[in-house]
């Protein structure tokens, strides 16, 4: 079986500052792949390199190969196609300055979907999956930026699902969401796993333990350990630092 995502010897720089020091790993289709690691370890940067928004920042540089479905992301014919293949949920919710409806319909519209009926249906489905539909169904026309922080976060999840991605990247999605709603979304993720590959970056190590099949521990731009979640969270991971981190003994 070919890997959904294959990263080989990735190095990245913001100007002079190096973030990743040559990391390699792969993500299987339809798995939930957890990434844990302390602040500044390069988790967000990694996701941005995968959907090629990393290059959007001036002064960045990268070496190594990232391939999605066996295709080097740097060489894809249509980068917009690639980005639509990947749903991205940023850690701080970014509600576009549009209505709730337009936020979710943004990606399908950009891809050329015009049919109102189809759009309505899609918007409802995505908002439902993101556990937001009931709260906003009566005010789809109000500004997305007027929602509460947690609602905005769920709006960005709905938005990320709106282009029916094959890969869903969640970057600390639950920072602004209460535990009950978080649980609801986690359940949705378990269902979505049937249709897509999920990369879950999280600061809540227990969340990775609950959801991920395999977990990678990233530290200062290097992979300390990448293994089955049972191993990482089991009594004896290969590296002592992993053990300390998941048990909260670090620093």
């Amino acid at each position: 079986m070919v890997s959904k995502i294959q990263v080989q010897n990735l190095r990245t720089w913001y100007g002079e500052k190096q973030v990743h020091h040559g990391i390699s790993f792969h993500v299987e289709p339809n798995e939930i792949f957890g990434i844990i690691g302390p602040a500044q370890s390069g988790k967000t940067t990694l996701l941005r390199a995968i959907n090629r928004t990393f290059e959007f920042t001036a002064g960045t540089r990268q070496e190594g190969v990232i391939s999605v479905d066996g295709e080097d992301v740097k060489r894809v014919r249509d980068v917009y196609e690639l980005r639509r293949k990947i749903g991205m949920v940023a850690p701080l919710p970014v509600g576009l300055p549009l209505s709730i409806y337009d936020n979710v319909a943004f990606a399908p519209r950009s891809a050329g979907m015009r049919n109102k009926g189809e759009l309505d249906e899609l918007v409802e489905r995505c908002l439902t999956q993101a556990a937001l539909w009931d709260e906003v169904k009566d005010r789809l026309d109000s500004l997305g930026t007027k929602l509460s922080g947690g609602q905005q976060q769920r709006l960005t999840i709905a938005r990320a699902l709106s282009h029916q991605p094959e890969i869903l990247c969640l970057d600390e999605f639950s920072i602004a969401i209460d535990p009950v709603t978080t649980m609801r979304i986690e359940d949705v993720l378990k269902v979505l796993k049937k249709d897509m590959t999920i990369i879950l970056v999280t600061n809540l190590v227990q969340q990775a333990r609950r959801l991920a099949a395999r977990t990678m521990f990233l530290w200062n731009g290097e992979i300390i350990e990448c293994d089955k979640t049972e191993v990482i969270f089991g009594g004896k991971p290969a590296d002592k630092r992993t053990h300390d981190y998941v048990n909260g003994i670090f620093g």
Binding site: N51, R83, A90, L98, R109, S110, H163
Partner: protein, 312 residues
């Protein structure tokens, strides 16, 4: 023991605070002072007896004969039409270029190119309006004559082009600020959703920056309304309603008609009046009209900009 600042430092701070406060207040005093002095010169015409001035005719009459011997008329309707026509057309010309320039500067330009472009745009802003007037007469005038096959090239179109060029720099730089103020997160979120650069610009950037862009346009309008020397030279400065033909029908070629503006009238006639005469006072009254127009425009721009801040 806790550290304690010496007494003079506390005093110095108070002193500085007062100096700054004075600077702020002085700006207010200047604005009111200008209104006051202009009104002191122009106002008395409103109540002085024995003049031919009628307030009712002032805004509605097309007769402007301030130097006639026995039949003086002070109607500024033609001048108002001239000012609004030239300003309006110039903004129509300038806005697409200015917004395009702002988008180019903030989204497509980096490093050296951007720096140089900004310097050049600032240079453009620094060209004195009389030089623009020369350009209107010597460059644009013959161009209009040959392209559109009209007898005179000093007309509404000529002045509008010059005004557009003059108003553009401020519109571009304020517009660029407005676009730069749109958080990068928005751009990245839109791009991550598979939007192309243009989709991002039209569906996210422009809606998000629309208030700032509007403020930029309004400031450009303010600049255009108040402009004098350039339009005096480029409009042809004849007392004429560009929209009406001699037989009284609508003139579709209004762009190629000559006209006269409020500002140019003051500049060209004030030197020939005697201080305190009705003509002199009416010219100052026109000054008040101009002040009011620019005041309203600036106020609108301010309110619009405030709207931006509130949204964030």
């Amino acid at each position: 023991m806790r550290a304690k600042r010496p007494g003079y430092a506390v005093f110095a701070e108070k002193g500085i605070e007062w100096i700054i406060r004075l600077c702020g207040i002085s700006a207010i005093i200047f604005v009111f002072g200008i209104f006051f002095f202009v009104f002191r010169e122009g106002g008395p015409i409103l109540w002085e007896k024995g003049t031919d001035f009628r307030l009712g005719d002032f805004f509605t009459s097309t007769d402007w004969y301030p130097t006639s011997m026995e039949n003086k008329r002070y109607g500024i309707l033609l001048l108002i039409i001239g000012t609004f026509t030239v300003t309006g057309l110039s903004i129509l010309i300038a806005v697409p270029f200015a917004i395009g320039g702002a988008i180019f500067l903030s989204e497509f330009c980096t490093g050296k190119v951007k720096e140089w472009l900004k310097i050049i745009i600032e240079l453009l802003a620094a060209i004195p309006s009389i030089v623009w007037g020369f350009i209107g007469i010597t460059v644009i005038n013959p161009l209009i004559q040959s392209w559109f096959d009209v007898p005179v090239g000093l007309n509404v179109l000529n002045a509008s082009i010059i005004l557009a060029l003059m108003a553009m720099p401020i519109m571009v730089s304020i517009g660029e600020d407005a676009l730069k103020a749109v958080p990068d997160n928005y751009r990245e979120a839109a791009v991550a959703l598979g939007a192309t650069r243009w989709q991002m610009i039209f569906r996210v950037l422009l809606p998000a920056g629309k208030n700032g862009l509007l403020a930029a346009v309004l400031l450009g309008v303010g600049r255009a309304v108040g402009e004098t020397m350039g339009v005096l030279m480029a409009t042809g400065h004849s007392l004429n309603n560009p929209y009406v033909k001699l037989d009284g029908s609508f003139n579709p070629m209004w762009m190629f008609e000559s006209c006269r503006t409020l500002t140019a009238t003051i500049a060209s006639e004030l030197g020939e009046t005697s201080v305190g005469s009705p003509h002199y006072r009416v010219l100052f009254l026109i000054g008040i009209v101009l002040l009011t127009i620019t005041f309203i425009i600036n106020l609108t721009a301010d309110l619009v900009v405030k709207g931006i801040r509130k949204q964030k």
